[in-house]
Amino acid sequence: MVVLNFTLTPEAAAKVHDILICLAKFSDTVAIEARRERFTFTALNSSKSAYAALTLDGNQFFASYEFLSSHGGSDGRFTCSMYAKALLSVFKARLNDPLRRDGAIDRCEVSIQDRPDATQCRFIVKMVCDQGVIKTYKLTYEAVDVMHALFDRNAAKNRWSMHSSAMKEYIEYFGPRNELLDIVAGQDGRAIFKTYTDKLQSGKDILKHSLSTAVAVNTGDFEEFKVDSGLHIVISAKDFKAIVAHAVTLKTNLKAYYSQPTRPLQFSYGSDGVLCEFTLMTSGDYDASANATPAPQQIPSRTASQAQSAATERIEDRSIRSEMPPPVEPASRAEPRRRIPGSRKETTPKPPQPGSQGLFVSQDDEDARWEPVDYNNEEETLGWDASAEHDAALFPTFRDNASLSRTETAESNDAVAPTQRVSQIKGLW
């Protein structure tokens, strides 16, 4: 038996929308982990190369937050997974509209109906709107065990930090559809972000390659830049864009932590009770000279590429939880719940348009009207439309579908028992 009740302000509900937009870019399903003092959304992509954990602080983020679990005592948790799209149609855009237009809410109340004796287990969202209108959504969920990716920030000697809006400016130069992003620490005081799809090969299809874009940024434009000179690290460009797009909604600094290619990289940012951590698989650059990659430092016996394996708890988190016997905390370890000074809660900006290809700047309408008209795709038609389909989007319905596909996260794969001390498991990596 689990009791989970929380209330969100319109502001916070809009942030949940932003979070879900971001997570939906990684996976179709979003996992939820509720604990006594925090609530976490996680997503693992299908190739298991990217893991996202976005944690909401129980006191800071929510207007009210209550979690009780009949089993497990203080360490009890409730985990489940849901379709990202289903959640997104509840946490729609424009929940927080200062002008109180269509879709704006007064507050949002969420509870869990999870009893062994109940016939229905549901995730219930009540959107309380103006004039006493209450929209109640009951979502089905699948009970799963949530895994967390391991990331050891102590081993991540390379780190940089930059304001997300600056980073957004840079990724706007990127050509669309590029798969990979190479982050290079140049020797000349510049960091280079280079996107490309694959190695160029001369041949017939040479003209079908995508545009390869390199953006060279003065390391002085970073808040912090401490990366081994000449180091290349390659991640997925799409993931990076998704992360930056979300970090921009929080108007905060984006921090990267990594050691070397083939070892995981972590992006971290957060403000006002939201902490976002993305752990990504990396590889080396194809044209990086061998000596540019520094020698591996004490690589563990585990195969490197599988290193971001699962554990029930992140090690950093464990060390700062009050309920855990605190191990010796390394000096470099950051307190993740720190308030960013000066960052104020403001009305959240418009979320990025999903599926928008218009990453480029100066997409002016002026230019668009010169494009040849595609009559096949024309929305403007003269005639009658007797179908009632337009209204479908206004009233989302959920079918009671018990046969939800099991996700990867469903496997219980506890690598570390939840009561183990950090000092005891030090030897694992």
Partner: protein, 342 residues
């Protein structure tokens, strides 16, 4: 083989590539000492042969090759256009031909400087409460930052004998030549007409019916755009357009014998006469692609060869003293009879 130039006018270059790209995906770009030639020859539809003066796009310009200092390239227009678009606020932009892993590339190097107006950049010394080990001491010079963006467009170098077989279409002397009204107006009307003609034909999928526009002009400043289907017939008439004087040095025959001189004897300036019209029928989609050139804002002279072809000469706007750049579009008429339906 060397090609290097700094782009003086990224806006024009971007619009040029966008206009060409609406006709076809690839352009043959010929670089020589005086001009840049862009040629797009799609599998079907309109061809464009453009001669652009160097100073209308480039500033400094070097081209060297073993073949008389001429370089022929095949360039994917989408990528070039996309790359150029990112240079919209550049403080400088440079393009050069280079090679990487044996693949020829057009590398566009864009330098942007922006004084950091938004809060995204560190302006004051960073306070060290962000959990990192070391304070970050580096200060910004002058609060402005410079970013270098490199866009690499893969290209193919064409050998001289490959391009030797490509010839610009030849056409007889036109019956009517006329300065077109503003293209935005012309495009909106023709788009509207096309849309109307497609109503009820449910143009879903690729098998949308082909629609043909009929364009006619006379030597008395009239242009007529019309569309006919089983259900309707619409037309739009422009009057008081100008028929430019012929330059005797440009034509081989005596002006008195020129077809347009004979057409002048026929028709009237109010466009009501049935006589004196030179007419071509053009695929509506193709016409829409051609109209894309309007974004460059040039003067357009249309030359009508009755029932044969329409040739558009687009003269790019120039500042004083610049050599003129001309884009020549060759449109073929699509024959008589009822519209083809598929």
């Amino acid at each position: 083989m060397r090609f290097k130039a700094s782009i003086q006018n990224t806006n024009t270059f971007t619009k040029l590539t966008a206009s060409f790209n609406s006709l076809g995906p690839l352009a043959w770009v010929k670089l020589d000492a005086e001009h840049v030639h862009f040629t797009v020859i799609p599998e079907q539809g309109t061809q464009v042969w453009a001669v652009v003066s160097i100073d209308s796009i480039f500033d400094t310009y070097t081209v060297q090759s073993a073949a008389n200092n001429v370089i022929n390239l095949e360039v994917p227009l989408v990528l070039l256009n996309r790359a150029l678009k990112t240079a919209w606020n550049a403080s400088s932009a440079q393009i050069r031909l280079t090679k990487k892993d044996n693949v020829p590339l057009l590398a566009l190097t864009i330098v942007t400087t922006s004084s950091s107006s938004h809060a995204g950049f560190p302006t004051a010394p960073t306070n060290n409460d962000d959990g990192f080990d070391a304070p970050f001491e580096q200060q910004l010079g002058g609060n402005s930052r410079e970013t270098i963006i490199t866009q690499e467009v893969p290209v193919r170098v064409l050998a001289p004998d490959v391009v030797a077989g490509l010839h610009e279409p030849q056409c007889r002397e036109p019956d009517v030549h006329i300065l077109l009204p503003p293209l935005l107006q012309l495009k909106s009307i023709s788009d509207r007409f096309t849309k109307l003609s497609l109503i009820g034909k449910s143009g879903n999928g690729s098998a949308a019916p082909r629609t043909r526009l009929e364009l006619s002009a006379n030597m008395h400043g009239c242009l007529k755009l019309s569309i006919k289907t089983d259900a309707m017939s619409i037309s739009s008439l422009w009057t008081d357009l100008s028929n430019p004087e012929l330059d005797p040095s440009q034509i081989t025959m005596d002006i008195a014998d020129h077809p347009s001189t004979k057409m002048k004897q026929l028709g009237s300036a109010d466009g009501r006469s049935e006589e004196g019209w030179a007419t071509v029928r053009i695929d509506a989609r193709d016409w829409g692609k051609v109209m894309s050139v309007g974004r460059l804002g040039g003067r357009v002279v249309a030359c009508f060869c009755h029932e044969f072809a329409l040739i558009l000469y687009v003269y790019l706007p120039t500042d004083n003293g610049e050599q003129e750049s001309v884009l020549t579009y060759y449109l073929k008429t699509t024959g008589h009879g009822t519209p083809l339906s598929s």
